[in-house]
């Protein structure tokens, strides 16, 4: 069988295809079909010719085979220093092989590539910072994912995720109508406590355009409410787009280059349409990477930057605290040992380490913040990045990988982990479920809401009176 009905080289672009995939629970038939999926070696060779240029080829070729990258990878450490988890070995035995054979590889090799590219690498890019030549295996694995995707060798969940983006311009089946309704609903629900709270939709020329992660409207609508309340307190002139509101990119995780471009184009179109001064994304690492760091290149912006300044949520929080738009009640600061999960996506790969520490200096009582070791740009991945959190067949591998982050957190002695990234947040939640450290974990928004000083005029009438008594 050259191609399966579910597992094939075509991306999902229609609702029917998507439903068929979803009906195949856990991808049973999908993975069976994959066993027989033919590799289109000609197309693979063409793709290599067009996209595998001197940087990647030189990386693969000059690798000294020195093994200095071994200890940098949390998978290697968590698996008892298994040599097959050495980043250089992983990439040489997968992409290296494809390039050396100029695409003449078989089905078994492509399935092995898939296992390694998604199940043994989260594209955290830590190894690249330890290689003397700066050979970045994370970059190469995300390239390999693109090759795998184009040949149909992609985990079931990510084939679906890519389809969701292509159909809904969101990682989940949330339509623009659903999104706007959720915003309205959240707003109404908060009116008792926050009279006058608004979530302006499609306002032109606002100071801030806010984009989020589709999980928020779908599963955690309170997050949108919290964002709205914080903007309300800070007195920001802000809005959300009815279209182009989902900043995430399972397409990026899937290696669906075309789909990733379409997703970012949708957001940039909203920017063009609504002309905000700045855009602000939610507390998500990979969404920031997709839309702000890599996205400009996908859509072909030669300056490598989004059309207007595009902040990560932590940048806005730090600014609001610095300028006094948000004021913290010193009595309510965090007074227990607390640590911070540095997201690879916007710390190692964007440089926001100072901004996040600045936030900590406002919200944690001096003396209670404990850094993980290592931290900042050298922090380890939480263990669930690169889409791994969502992939069923690699669940056990992921859970083993968690051990490194588990031990890092344990060593801090902190019972609270601040995790301003959806993926990290999920990973730490799952880690707690498995390893029972007795920790709590939180985004910034709920923490801020517990300690921010609410200006008198924003309080509901009765409550304001009660407090005066």
């Amino acid at each position: 069988m050259p191609e399966g009905t579910l597992c094939n080289r075509q991306p999902v672009t229609t609702k029917e295809q998507l439903d068929a995939l979803l009906a195949d629970k856990t991808g049973k038939i999908y993975y069976e079909e994959m066993q027989h999926l033919e590799v289109d070696t000609e197309k693979l060779a063409e793709t290599l010719q067009a996209t595998c240029k001197s940087r990647l080829r030189t990386w693969l070729e000059i690798c000294a085979h020195c093994g200095l990258c071994a200890d940098s990878c949390f998978f290697y450490l968590a698996n008892g220093k298994d040599p097959t988890q050495v980043p250089a070995y992983k990439i040489q035995s997968t992409l290296g092989e494809i390039v050396r054979k100029n695409g003449q590889v078989d089905n078994a090799h492509m399935r092995y590539c898939m296992d390694v590219a998604w199940g043994k690498c989260t594209c955290c890019n830590r190894c690249g910072t330890f290689c003397p030549y700066g050979i970045d295996m994370g970059v190469m694995f995300s390239y390999l994912r693109g090759l795998c995707f184009s040949q149909g060798f992609v985990p079931w969940e990510l084939k679906i995720g890519s389809g969701m983006h292509r159909i809904f311009r969101a990682q989940m089946d949330v339509t623009p109508e659903d999104f706007v309704e959720t915003c309205e609903w959240m707003c109404e629900e908060q009116q008792d406590e926050w009279p006058g709270l608004e979530i302006p939709v499609d306002k032109v020329g606002a100071d801030i355009l806010y984009t989020c992660n589709a999980r928020e409207p779908k599963h955690y609508p309170e997050d949108i409410a919290e964002a709205a309340i914080l903007f309300h307190i800070a007195g920001e002139d802000w809005t959300v787009p009815s279209e182009g509101w989902d900043q995430t990119s399972l397409t990026m995780f899937a290696g669906d280059w075309e789909g990733a471009r379409l997703q970012v184009e949708g957001i940039y179109k909203a920017i063009e349409r609504l002309k905000p001064k700045r855009v602000l994304g939610t507390e998500c690492g990979h969404a920031h990477r997709a839309t702000v760091i890599e996205g400009p290149y996908w859509v072909g912006r030669e300056d490598g930057r989004p059309p207007v300044p595009y902040l990560h949520y932590t940048e806005w929080v730090a600014e609001a605290l610095r300028t006094g738009k948000l004021k913290i009640d010193p009595a309510k600061r965090i007074k227990e040992p607390v640590t911070l999960q540095d997201s690879c996506n916007y710390i190692r790969n964007y440089g926001l380490k100072e901004v996040t520490r600045e936030i900590i200096s406002y919200i944690v009582e001096p003396g209670y913040f404990v850094e993980m070791e290592p931290c900042k740009e050298y922090n380890f991945c939480c263990g669930g990045g690169g889409g791994l959190n969502g992939i069923g067949i690699y669940r056990q591998w992921r859970n083993i990988g968690f051990k490194v982050k588990r031990d890092q957190i344990k060593a801090t002695g902190a019972k609270l982990v601040i995790a301003p990234c959806h993926n990290c947040w999920d990973a730490i939640r799952d880690m707690e479920e498995i390893y029972e450290l007795g920790i709590r974990w939180s985004f910034l928004k709920p923490l801020l809401l517990k300690m921010v000083i609410i200006p008198e005029h924003l309080k509901p009438k009765e409550e304001a009176e009660e407090e005066e008594e």
Binding site: T51, K53, S54, R55, R57, T58, W59, E61, I62, C63, A64, H65, C66, G67, L68, A70, D71, S72, Y76, K81, P83, T84, V86, A88, Y89, Q92, G128, T129, F130, C131, P132, Y133, G134, I135, D136, I293, E294, Y297, G300, E302, D303, G304, R305, E315, R348, N349, Y350, G351, L352, K353, E354, V355, K376, E377, Y378
Partner: protein, 226 residues
């Protein structure tokens, strides 16, 4: 024989060496693609240059980067090995004599014989350590093939033979010829093997430095902390 291997053959070696390196450097730089690499090389020349220099310099200095500091012993071995590899052939008094005789370059700086000997012994000792490490540590062993061992041997051969020549063991002529030929073999192989890193190191480190300077660490005040 001597005339041939230090005459036409040497010229051929230099042509292949410099020509090969030049070709690869041009091929590398021309193959950089701002969109595929996702680095806006042209848009931020200042950030790019700063990033590239910072990346190269931190990694050229012993213990100058997080990576080198993470492996203190290996770093020591590595720098002793490379100090000899780079300094001895370029600044050996015996080589300078040839430069003067052949091309009349008389201003070329040289090092003392004692230093040359020390560095050469350093190369030979560290080469053994590197070889043993390759075979003993599982994480290096899994990456090692005959190719790697072969290249270490080729890299060290001119040093071993040169050492024997200078110290006048028996068979002077044999070792001299072996020295010259192994040196020529090394030079010919450099552009076409992983030894291309002699130049490739600077290209590759420069590129990743630009990546971090322009894109991946541009929000950090001091750039990426290598």
């Amino acid at each position: 024989m001597y005339q041939f291997i230090t005459g036409p053959l040497l010229w051929l070696t230099f042509i292949i060496f410099f020509g090969g390196l030049a070709f690869r450097v041009v091929w590398y730089i021309r193959g950089l693609d701002w969109r595929l690499d996702r680095v806006a090389y042209r848009a931020y020349p200042a950030l790019g240059l700063k990033g590239a220099l910072s990346s190269i310099i931190h990694w050229l200095i012993p213990y100058g980067s997080h990576g080198w500091r993470a492996k203190p012993l290996y770093t020591l071995v590595f720098f002793i090995f490379h100090a000899g590899l780079v300094v001895v052939p370029l600044f050996l008094a015996g080589h300078a004599v040839l430069l003067d005789e052949r091309w009349g370059i008389s201003w070329w700086p040289t090092i003392s014989m004692a230093l040359a000997d020390t560095l050469t012994i350093g190369v030979m000792v560290t080469a053994v350590i590197i070889l043993v490490r390759r075979l003993v540590l599982p994480e290096v062993r899994i990456l090692t093939t005959f190719y790697d061992i072969f290249l270490i041997l080729v890299s060290v051969a001119p040093f071993v033979t040169g050492f024997l020549v200078v110290h006048q063991v028996r068979d002077y002529t044999f070792w001299l010829y072996a020295h010259i030929l192994s040196g020529e073999l090394l030079l010919v192989l450099i552009p076409f093997t992983k030894l291309f890193h002699v130049v490739g190191f600077f290209l590759s480190r420069g590129q990743i430095g630009m990546d971090f300077g322009i894109k991946r660490a541009w929000k950090s005040r001091k750039g990426f902390a290598w």
